[in-house]
Point group: C2
Chain length 234, copies 2
Amino acid sequence: MTQSSTDTDGSASHARKELIYQILRDRICAIEYPPGSKLRETDLAEEFEVSRTPIRNVLTTLEHDGLLAVKHGVGNVVSLVEPEELVEIYTVRMILAQSAGDFFASPFPEGTANQFVDYKEVFQALEPGDVVGFGRANICYYTGLISLITNSCLRDMMLKLFFQTSRMWLISLPSLDWSEVVVAVSDELDELTRLIRLEDPIGLGLAARNHIFMSRRRILAGLGISLTETRNPL
Amino acid sequence: MTQSSTDTDGSASHARKELIYQILRDRICAIEYPPGSKLRETDLAEEFEVSRTPIRNVLTTLEHDGLLAVKHGVGNVVSLVEPEELVEIYTVRMILAQSAGDFFASPFPEGTANQFVDYKEVFQALEPGDVVGFGRANICYYTGLISLITNSCLRDMMLKLFFQTSRMWLISLPSLDWSEVVVAVSDELDELTRLIRLEDPIGLGLAARNHIFMSRRRILAGLGISLTETRNPL
DNA sequence: AGTCTCAATGATGTATACAACTTGGCGCAT
DNA sequence: ATGCGCCAAGTTGTATACATCATTGAGACT
């Protein structure tokens, strides 16, 4: 459902709205639009060369996904996820990842392992402090990993939760040691690559669960510092 | 997120849209609008005494939730869930229910057990064959059960998946033995009531998981028959 | 009789004017 | 100087006219 509607939509307008949706979602999740940003409908309408109507349609969906807060007379502001809710989301993500092993395609598609090696190289090629680049790379990596799941319901759910937490993870990044994080992600990808080569889907799910656990630790550590420093993201 | 936005929205328009959303969602999930039905925007606009614009807004959300298929030039038709996808959703629901025990409010709120006794009486008072009444009762029951979960992310997720499967479950009902189903649901509620009185949240989650498993069995049995008989739900 | 074409119909999609709302600043009274 | 109130600017929300699309039926041609 939802974002998996890349199949025969038929109508061209659906495809266009889906495209705009994905673009805006990725911008929010890579904090090109950081939390607190206002997405002005007229601006977006001008950029995508449509009227406000289809833009508003997309914004409604983004609000339903928990990425935006639409406020009458104020603006469409990228929302912040409270630490308490963040922990809840991470907890559910861990549950899902732990159970996802049973639903990975086995054997893995040809070239999957090499794909993950590529992801790693992208991360390592990033300029230190390029948070947006890190976010985009992270979206690619996670989307690729989740696409290996055959249960479409589980897949959509994990994607949605990933997108909800992504921007908060990126916000916490500047408070952490960049090279340390890159090393951690590289090790993560090494482990996943190994498990894929070993054709161990259950292990892959468990490893993903552990990485989410570690990620939660890091993000909370980062936010614990930054929440008092940069209270106003604007 | 999503349907949990009953808190301080501020704007009255948000509240109105939320209300319309819940009404239409419940109608779909209780098959007052059975799969294949067309929801004409002008009709709904007239009923709720607004223009098509806010109605379309709600319909977009319902489509995103996987309840509607909006087709340009055709109509907004209540979608059917393919058996394959249905199994996937039920599988995820079982995973979530099984893990939900850790997140039930403990101790349970005062009067929770009596509430479940009431649910049981509602089911038993239904006239045989009143599928819509069964659907509405089921929505109440399940909403009440899930509201005991403290993890809001998990709660929203389970609710969403429940709403996705509800109409298919009701469609399969006429192919099953009514009194047998009522007895099964009554036993279900008895067991949940007992576990609530025992203050056993973990057991409650596991029992819910088992009931979802049984429900999946019944619904597939029902659809196995009705899928060939009532192919055109219109 | 059968089939193809096309126009009429009715639905959703889009654009735009206007209404409702929030916020900030300016001015006035205290 | 300060606090209060009101107005203006800017934003989202709504209503409506029109565009676009899919279906269906009649009619003409074969």
